[in-house]
């Protein structure tokens, strides 16, 4: 594009508005639906199981894609969390191990 940094293509703005609308609908939609569903003990147990299930489903494909190095880093993070219960230390260790492994060519 040659019009300069402060111009914007109308078509592109349409894309951004569409992406924003879809994402907001998803952000608010699940919350909205749950306001109209009676929260029975079964539903509540399902909702309680969601966070762990979402995290596992999010990081497992990252490990499968990233290979041994990434998997090792996440194990380090979880182990550090079990032992020290400080998220920032866990994250620091994981990043340090990743940097080390990559410097070693893994």
């Amino acid at each position: 594009m040659t019009e300069g940094a402060f111009s914007a293509d109308m078509m592109f703005i349409l894309v951004v508005f569409g992406m924003t609308a879809v994402t907001y609908a998803l952000r608010a939609g699940g919350y909205w639906v749950m306001g109209r569903v009676p929260i029975t003990p079964r539903v509540r147990r399902g909702l309680e199981a969601l966070p762990g299930a979402i995290i596992v489903s999010t990081i497992l494909p990252i490990v499968l894609q990233g290979g041994l190095a990434v998997g090792l880093c996440l194990i380090v993070a979880a182990a550090a969390q079990v032992g020290l219960k400080k998220e920032y230390i866990a994250v620091f260790f994981a990043a340090a191990v990743a940097a080390g492994l990559r410097a070693a060519g893994l």
């Binding site: 894309v15 399902g46 909702l47 966070p51 762990g52 299930a53 990081i59 550090a80 940097a99």
Partner: protein, 233 residues
Amino acid sequence: MLEKNVTLSLKGCTHGALMCVPVLPGIVALGAVFGTVAAQKGLTFVETVLMNSLVFAGASQFVAMEIYSDPLSWGTLIAMIGVTGAVNMRMLLIGASLRPWLGQVPSYQTYPALFFLTDLNWLLTLTEYDKGTRDWGVYLGSGLFVWSIWSLSVIPGYFAGSLISDPKAFGLDVVLPAFFAALLVPLWKGKRQTVSWFIAGGVAAVTWAIVGGYWSIFTGAIAGALAGAYLDD
């Protein structure tokens, strides 16, 4: 089953924002990389900032930029919006799981606040809820903080893309997944979690192997939630 004593305070907001500090390097690096990608693809600065701050969902922005081509056709437009929906489908579940926590807060406050919903502040909020916190400032503060950092981090990336030539060399790409792995630890309470996580992981891995992409988050999460709902102790 709604929570009855939910409050909102500045102290809660500050606490929520501070909880995000460990992952700042990860957010800044990811935002900067998006700025660089956008510049390389030929977006103007305004276009980059608009997309980054309004959509505010990292993975979907990257995938949409994979599809982008200039000049934009209607087909590309639909594809970019569609892929955004697919990647962000998990937000339906994330939002749903906040209902018991935030359901009592007036809707004129929750619905604008849901714009700032991300995996990160959602997870921090639920972790705090588990510990007994009932101040939803934790959600709002962390959301606003992450949004501000995300919005700013794209700027250096757009203008000086080569500053961090390879975030991987510094391990910055593992910061967010490592944070999630760490936050998973206190969620484990016993057999119910073990079983539902195994089912979630299994379904996610199979989905990933067959269709790839981001559907695995959605299928795995639903399988895990169903398992959790139907496992009686």
